[in-house]
Symmetry: C2
Subunit: 406 residues, 2 copies
């Protein structure tokens, strides 16, 4: 390998001039930017929500995998960071996070070795992962016993036809009993992810699952020393999780933990819709004042206007999520100046690896070299396209380069 990383550019949206302004094209475009004011608003808003509800916030870190953001979330009061894999746990710990919830099963020898080494190296970090089978529990107990370590675990409760998790309270109780007799494991509580429930109106099913979980927690509680952790909630149902669990009968020392992830940058797609529904049904969220606001944008350049009504912009599947709607234009600039952009005047209609195809209204004035700003849907899969995102102020001055770890 003769590649020299000390060469001219460190990553694909490199800063070419400093100080750098995105609209002045000081950065190689396309670029992903995070608006600092919106990011800070979202961190503050969700922490206030959790505080008001009397629950703990463990933001799901897999959304951003950005150490700078993990640290900002912890500094604002997050009780820990959620992750989806052993590698993600290593990134969280190396970022200085004190408590890491791996809301997933730990499988495979190398992944277990990694967690063992992390526990030895970061001995002050409170780490736990999820189990849903005797097979996995035995393998983990065997491995960590041989390492002279104890692994903290949460039993996962699932739903028929869903993802992981014990399908019935009886299964979960049997697993609880078995774990209590395994030398390498320490039971800490119960985990679920209600976001696997879909359909026209999943709320009653979500509420039933949460009620079952609270009742199950009471039955499991004798096998847990000290505080019982009861955790659920992605970015769609966190109000319902709080409603049900704060009022349900629970173990005496019970910490409710919510784990939204996508709130951190919010979006202009599926999570915007979910949050609007939440604000409509949840008086606590309304009374807080303010709301989540989109923080993540894609900035790209028009590279071709090859025929009337059509333009091509220089981002593609390599730069953006496209699984929950295409990024759509929200602002239009030429030579650094904003142009008027009517709703629907420019629309993304197709995407390839390095290109996005736009339709233009008949009276639209779009030229090669113009900058378009795009709002996104589903932040997770946009973050993982970038080794670096640019933190910007409201005038698109680059404040800091945020390094991701995917």
């Amino acid at each position: 390998m003769k590649y020299h990383p000390d060469t001219l550019v460190p990553h694909k949206s490199a800063v070419m001039n400093t100080p750098a302004n995105i609209l002045a094209e000081d950065v190689c475009l396309p670029a992903a930017v995070i608006k600092k004011s919106a990011l800070e608003n979202n961190i503050r808003w969700m922490q206030q929500y959790a505080d008001t509800r009397g629950v703990s916030l463990v933001p799901h870190g897999k959304t951003t995998m950005t150490p700078w953001i993990f640290q900002a979330q912890q500094q604002a009061g997050a009780w820990g960071i959620g992750v989806g894999s052993a590698w993600q746990a290593s990134v969280a710990m190396a970022s200085g996070i004190h408590r890491v919830l791996m809301v997933n099963q730990l499988v495979g020898k190398a992944n277990m070795q990694l967690i063992s080494r992390l526990k030895a190296h970061y001995h002050d970090v409170d780490f736990m992962c999820c189990i849903d089978s005797l097979t996995n529990a035995r393998a983990l107990s065997h491995f960590f016993t041989a390492c002279g370590q104890t692994l903290d675990v949460l039993v996962e409760l699932g739903v028929e036809g869903g993802r992981c998790g014990c399908r019935t309270p009886d299964e979960a109780l049997a697993l609880t009993q078995a774990v209590s007799e395994m030398p390498g494991l320490r039971l800490r509580g119960l985990e679920l992810y209600e976001g696997v429930l879909h359909g026209d109106n999943p709320q009653p099913q979500v509420e039933a699952l949460l009620q079952n979980a609270a009742a199950l927690a009471c039955q499991m509680a004798p096998q847990v020393d000290g505080e019982f952790i009861l955790t659920g909630a992605g970015s769609v149902w966190y109000d319902v999780v709080c409603n049900v669990w704060t009022t349900a009968q629970k173990p005496p020392q019970c910490r409710i933990v919510i784990r939204p992830g996508c709130y951190i940058t919010h979006d202009l797609g599926i999570y915007d819709e979910a949050q609007q529904q939440l604000m409509a049904r949840d008086s606590v969220a309304c009374d807080l004042g303010g709301d989540l606001t989109p923080a993540l944008e894609l900035i790209a350049i028009v590279q071709s206007v090859p025929e009337p009504g059509r333009a091509i912009v220089n981002f593609g599947k390599r730069d953006s999520a496209f699984d929950a709607g295409l990024p759509q234009p929200i602002a239009h600039y030429r030579d650094g100046q904003a142009l008027a952009l009517k709703s629907g005047e420019i629309a993304s209609v197709g995407i390839m690896d390095q290109h996005c195809m736009l339709t233009l209204a008949a009276d639209s004035d779009v030229q090669v070299g113009d900058i378009l700003v795009f709002g996104t849907s589903h932040p997770c899969l946009t973050f993982d396209k970038w080794q670096t995102l640019h933190l910007v102020d409201d005038d698109y001055n680059v404040i800091e380069e945020l390094v991701t770890m995917f």
Copy 2:
């Protein structure tokens, strides 16, 4: 930023033991692996195909963005490497590639600055990019003239309703004429991408486009000093491009350049289907002997078998392309030993960020902790999920870690 990259793991599929074998779980799974024998076969096969046809091969590097692979392709005889952006061009040049075709428009001040710096730094590299508008041509000429440099360009020919490119030969000729008078630009030839043509049987349209391009090239030729570059062909129609262009009337000194990308790892999805169709219609490919073979696999672990007929495996949208069919199981291992896997016995039916959902046949024996090997569809979007892929031998011993640059 307190993140310490010198910590325990350098990337998400880190090697935990050396020597490392994937099936022995010495590597954090999931992992993306490339079979060396298949990769070498594909590099050799496509180079032989181009040599036999008497055309030049410029593999599209955006597929892999892997310097080690760029170098292997160049060593095997590739005339250059294709890229889709200025950043990708910088990676190719830093990898020691002597000729870089940016088969895309160069727009934006920072991207132009980057190319200018690259041209100054790698002064022996032959670089060219595409133009399809006077606006872009004027901006480029102005910029590179101010830098005291000349930018080599190819005029792009497109199709109505397609992506970039002049829509008619007359437009392309007008642009050719204008470019010949611009001090900062040097015209090198004509580029197109026939892969934007879709439909039930696009072959006649593809052939018509190629014929038009050859005729256009003859008209453009007086404005090109020396060799005329005529380039097209992704991984689907490269035989048709060779058929039409090797027999058409062309400029006297004409180099035909084909640019397939996905052939490098091939797949078990859309490109397998395309290659089967090509082998059925193209006697040159058949007579070569051998064929492309899938080189890219995902290796993952079963983390949950929560109910009859259902298993969850630990890769997801964060690890794999999912835009052209889900990765499907092709092999099953337990404790390092292969188990029989009947066709359709295990099937991927859903994917989330960190999980893939499988259905199991009634008599299927799948257990938590088993390893499943998955074939993929559309390699580009799997490569860009990994900072490192593992080059393995046929027994899944890790030979080398291949670093990607996305």
